[in-house]
Symmetry: C2
């Protein structure tokens, strides 16, 4: 059975879980406590990050961006990376936006400071980083809202990995109660459509020790 | 004429310049002072980073990873992303390694602190970051040395974007005199082979105001 090494709240692992489910590729989840830096895991993925995907045939694919490109090439009949050259540019631009800029400005300042820091025993949260995170989240929700208002899906007329990248970050932030869904009705509408997809069920069912998600987290009519 | 918006010492722009030259795609360079945040540039690339590629037909491609994927799809006859599924995974893993981990641990601590900070008027370099950068550079050169010793090119038997990603970062660090080439003879050999390629000439000819590269920078027998 295909194995995905992950952490339940990792937005990068969540993006891959969504893509696997969307492509109807069965897999088994295995939690990897990356901060323990297990030798066997570092041999598979020297960067020591989650997720890492291990295929039935033994092929090891580290890094969520590498995994998504791989899955789209290996299981090409249901492409989620765009069809035309221009669509593929926009899908990849937005994935880089959410996994690069949004991650650095929002996710690492909120999820990183308020959750990961405690989980991995790296001291107390930095209030300045958290303030920066809230400011950036508002700005990013406005940009996301503009995308959601002017397009059917974030990268254009087709659902793509860009939607799953964005939804993965928001779902992680929503789990720890950090998303104010009143900021952008267009974002809320788009996220409600994402949440209703069968591929999202696993993520909505996630539970982790020590943190209870808000009641609306798994509610499709939030 | 195809235009690449860049900064001469940006490792991300250098990677794309190398790939364009390797694929014999002519282009014109235009310097973009990203810290000025020009509206016209942000409209092309909301992330505000370099490089951004503008094709003759008007197609705008931001982000060096997106550009490299695009170039390999649009000009597929000379693939630099690997041929088999396994090769493509390894090429992309190493690009993510150098542009993610190496960039964060080495390039941003040395080039970022010692050069970019002054250039963009963001105060004085942080000595702790610079120390971290030197320690990480040694560790990364050892890993790079292991790759160079055990493989013909970094990702395997074929030259790939992984080589250009790594060489781009090292060339930027070498320009500001930060690479100790005695640490790994295998890395030096590999870099000498990279430097000798015609695609490298533009990068070796770069000059920027206020910084003179060491004498060995453009020397093929360094």
């Amino acid at each position: 059975m295909r194995v995905l090494h992950h952490l339940p709240l990792s937005p990068y692992a969540r993006k891959v879980r969504l893509v696997l489910a969307e492509k109807r590729l069965p897999y088994e989840l295995r939690v990897e406590k990356t901060w323990e830096r297990r030798t066997e895991y570092l041999e598979m993925n020297p960067a020591g990050t989650v997720p890492t995907l291990v295929e039935d045939n033994g092929l090891i694919i580290p890094d969520s961006a590498v995994i998504c490109e791989y899955l789209d090439e290996a299981y090409a009949d249901s492409s989620l990376m765009g069809r035309t050259i221009a669509e593929r540019i926009e899908v990849r631009r937005l994935i880089a936006w959410f996994d690069g800029k949004f991650a650095a400005e929002v996710t690492s300042n909120l999820y990183g400071e308020k959750y990961l820091r405690r989980l991995t025993g790296r001291g107390i949260p930095d209030p300045a980083a958290i303030r920066t995170g809230y400011t950036a989240l508002r700005y990013h929700l406005e940009y996301l809202g503009w995308l959601a208002e002017t397009r059917k899906w974030l990268a254009g007329h087709a659902l793509s990995v860009a939607d799953f990248a964005a939804a993965a970050h928001l779902s992680t932030l929503d789990f720890i109660g950090e998303v104010d869904w009143t900021i952008s009705p267009a974002v809320k509408d788009w996220y409600a459509r994402m949440k209703s997809r069968p591929s999202f069920r696993g993520i909505l069912a996630d539970r982790v020790p020590g943190t209870t998600p808000p009641a609306h987290y798994a509610d499709l009519d939030f």
